[in-house]
Subunit: 205 residues, 2 copies
């Protein structure tokens, strides 16, 4: 695409480096910003610069945080004996939004993927082991909250083998038919698993 303005060209180039943003979308965003008040562009720019310069990662769980220790780790109302292991910050947000979990997290920063060249040493695994073995550690259970893909299962297997000798209870989030999902469209592996790992049906409380 040929632009009549170097400024537009540069802005489109930068926008289109973002995932899922092509040149045409980038141009649409740029032209939209030009139609809006200057303050909107300034605020977007400042928010991004601020974020990138000042963001921290929690020293305990590696979740994104404004402080050295994130507000989940710092909270006294969270169950300190429970750690949910997740791939990245997005998963923390997703689980937090369910309001069904009251323990802590540990963000791995990825999953073991030989194809992408990510090995166990690239992830925050030793930090997890430190957390469960530390002197003041009160962790009783690690919940694996990784995606049920080959890479996720490999990572779960690898880490659970490391945790076993430490006497830590391990569990994975349930795999089964999504609520609202139709049985006939479920894949065979999920359906089979959901029968094997069926849960007791209780009426009321």
């Amino acid at each position: 695409m040929q632009f009549s303005s170097k400024l537009i060209e540069k802005a489109v180039d930068e926008f289109s480096k973002l995932p899922g943003v092509g040149k045409k979308t980038a141009l649409r965003l740029v032209l939209h910003l030009l139609k809006q008040d200057t303050s909107q562009t300034i605020e977007l720019s400042e928010a991004l610069t601020d974020l990138r310069k000042n963001i921290k990662y929690c020293k305990k769980c590696f979740n994104i945080s404004d402080d050295d220790i994130c507000n989940i780790c710092a909270s006294h109302r969270r169950d300190q004996s429970l750690i949910c292991l997740v791939e990245d910050t997005r998963d923390v947000l997703a689980i937090e939004n369910t309001s069904q979990y009251n323990g802590l997290y540990h963000v791995l920063g990825g999953i073991i993927s030989p194809i992408e060249g990510i090995g166990p040493d690239d992830l925050n695994i030793s930090e997890l082991l430190d957390r469960v073995t530390g002197e003041s550690a009160e962790v009783k259970e690690v919940i694996f909250g990784l995606s049920p893909t080959m890479e996720g299962d490999t990572t779960t297997f690898y880490i659970s083998k490391k945790l076993k000798p430490l006497g830590i209870k391990t569990s994975t989030i349930a795999r089964g038919i999504p609520i609202g999902g139709e049985l006939e469209y479920a894949d065979e592996i999920t359906l089979g698993r959901s029968i094997v790992t069926r849960t007791a049906y209780e009426i009321g409380e």
Copy 2:
């Protein structure tokens, strides 16, 4: 969505003000930027601020430009007797990318749309009339390059009525079956029009 970080929240808020970007997409973009080098975020921010602060609109055709007069208006190789009237800068880019047009442009900045409260006075119409009537004017033809919608047709009609007494030739870009399009899927109005406005078929040059 609950964020563990005010910085993330602010950046997501700002991103999601852009058209077609919801909270989830905004979060994906923000987390992507956090994984990249700091310089990428800085460059994006700077490109946007630069753009918004320094962009100009060509004083002749109202196209986006780095200077007072855009490089199309300033070029001596463009046919000064031809003006193509378009809705916005995107249309200029689209036509320029065809490499089939060698005249000038005039960017209206919108089309007449009573529903959205856009009247003739909100558009660069008087400036167009000035351009074709000015003392040094050499404009012979105005090509209407507006979208074939009700609003576009209304605008074309309104402006062509203004141009008629000035003795300016007017034309619209051809409406017809898109190249590569299948006849049976074309709507009746387009197909009907394409028969009425058929063009002579010539072999070779």
